[in-house]
């Protein structure tokens, strides 16, 4: 009995210590990344542009199809329910646009990028760990965070924002098309931006920027802490997708809460 209790306590202690160590390591990588951004001075512009292409351009079709379809489905369901109750579709467009800008588009865009970009960063970094390329970098006096994560961080922040704005356009246009074609809602009635406040724009933009920064940091942490062999790289990639999605959800929750209490009007 005492032995089992001791074992359970030891396991719990190990688990808590492990979480604390992981949090500390993640924090250290985040700090080194921020410091790296300030020291950047354009010495790896080519790498940033390449990453911007990989993150942004390569995600365009993914974002267009997913968010376009989602916008149409959402508007269809909302119009369908309103038709059953009042039949007044005049508020569908303004409310839909407001909700998309401050809540849905930032989190959905970030979640999609967390799967595509996060997995890519973790797999690339993880392979470099397994093949000792990270050790080879350290041997030349290069900080792997500085060399690998900083260009991806800058590219991800910029491209998540750009893709988010693009996704907003796509989702709103797709929604308007569905409302018009299925329920006869006039485009002039749908495209009303009166309900969108400066607070909504600020919160939407802030979420895109913070999510864009969180994805490479979390994915990079998973990649840099890869275990041995190809199995280790596989695990790192899975962890990157799960953890960066989770990070996006938690950050979104916090910013939404703070936003509603401060700059936003419900």
């Amino acid at each position: 009995m005492t032995g089992k209790l001791y074992e359970m306590t030891a396991n719990l202690g190990g688990f808590v210590t492990g979480i604390f160590a992981a949090a500390l390591s993640l924090f250290s990588i985040a700090m080194r990344t921020f410091r790296g951004v300030f020291r950047f001075r354009g010495r790896a512009q080519g790498e940033v542009l390449k990453q911007m292409y990989l993150i942004g351009n390569r995600s365009l079709i993914f974002v267009t199809v997913t968010l376009g379809a989602l916008g149409m489905v959402l508007v269809f369901q909302v119009c369908l329910q309103i038709n059953k109750i009042t039949g007044d579709q005049s508020q569908v467009g303004p409310e839909f646009i407001k909700g998309m800008i401050h809540a849905f588009v930032p989190i959905l865009t970030a979640m999609m990028l967390a799967t595509r970009v996060g997995a890519g960063i973790a797999a690339e970094t993880g392979s470099m760990v397994v093949t000792e390329q990270i050790d080879a970098l350290r041997m030349t006096g290069v900080d792997p965070v500085d060399f690998i994560l900083v260009p991806r961080f800058i590219a991800s922040v910029v491209m998540t924002f750009v893709l988010g704005v693009y996704a907003m356009v796509i989702v709103i246009v797709a929604g308007a098309f569905m409302a018009h074609s299925s329920f006869g809602v006039n485009y002039n009635v749908f495209f009303v931006f009166d309900k969108v406040t400066g607070g909504d724009l600020f919160i939407g933009s802030l979420k895109l920027i913070v999510h864009g920064g969180a994805i490479p940091i979390v994915a990079g942490y998973c990649g840099l802490t890869t275990g041995r062999g190809s199995e280790g790289v596989g695990n790192a990639t899975t962890r990157a997708v799960i953890n960066s999605s989770l990070a996006v959800i938690i950050i979104d929750f916090i910013i939404s809460g703070v936003g509603l209490l401060t700059v936003q009007k419900i």
Binding site: T131, E132, Q133, D135, A136, R138, M139, T140, G141, D143
Partner: protein, 246 residues
């Protein structure tokens, strides 16, 4: 040049190295041998400061690197050229960029064009003239090793570490690689530490041997005298016997 005083290393609660004491002087060529998983590569990574020393002191020239921060380790690491077990060539750079990388990262006072020319010259010296623009994925195993060697020596470091320089290579290429390493050593007079499972090839290259088993030194001395070592593990390992403690 390199002095280890009672160096120990623990990872995830497991003792990898235990009380290692040795000195490697300028111009000496050492072979580090022992059964798989005995701690050879870990010892090399401790010397490079890639893993922390748990206990003891490790001096590179006069600096004790035990407990040194990552920032303070940067100039120490620049004194060491390393050929990694899997070559560790950067797969996003071509051959000459790989070789030039360590030089471009230190304040060598050379212009980018001079660095490029030096990388080309080193590649020619290892028999890879004409392959400068190729990517690592386009090279054979032997060629990749040569690129790794060229990268390890381009900064002319006082310490050179070769981790399995001939692993997976045919006997002819192995012989060529050892000739190349000998030629480099005759010019540089660096401390050379070589890990290899190819005992015969290694013994033709090194002058001294450090034998490690289960994290402890079993033999440390001249290469010619290891045959007289009476330790049963060393005896069995060197002769490749089936029966014995291993």
């Amino acid at each position: 040049m390199i002095t280890l005083k009672n160096v120990s290393c623990k990872m995830s609660g497991k003792q990898i190295l235990d009380g290692i004491t040795a000195t490697f002087n300028k111009g000496e060529i050492w072979g580090i041998i022992g059964p798989p998983g005995c701690g050879k590569s870990m010892l090399m990574k401790l010397i490079c400061g890639l893993y922390p020393v748990t206990d003891g002191d490790l001096y590179i020239e006069s600096e004790n690197i035990a407990g040194m921060s990552e920032v303070r380790l940067v100039p120490v690491r620049r004194k060491i050229g390393m050929l990694f077990q899997n070559n560790a060539l950067f797969d996003f750079m071509n051959v000459w960029e790989n070789v030039a990388f360590p030089l471009s990262r230190m304040n060598s006072g050379l212009s980018p064009e001079e660095i490029r020319l030096k990388a080309f010259e080193r590649l020619k010296a290892v028999g890879l003239g004409g392959s400068e623009e190729k990517m690592p994925s386009e090279l054979s195993g032997g060629m990749r090793k040569r690129v790794g060697v060229a990268r390890a020596i381009i900064t002319e470091p006082p310490v050179i570490i070769y981790d399995e320089p001939t692993a997976g290579l045919d006997p002819v290429t192995t012989s060529k690689i050892y000739d190349l390493l000998n030629e480099i050593q005759s010019r540089s007079q660096s401390v050379v530490l070589t890990i290899s499972s190819d005992i015969i090839g290694l013994r033709s290259f090194v002058k001294n041997i450090l034998f490690i088993n289960e994290g402890k030194i079993l033999y440390c001395g001249p290469e010619q005298e290891i045959d007289h070592c009476t330790d049963p593990v060393v005896y069995q390992f060197l002769r490749g016997l089936d029966e014995g403690p291993l």
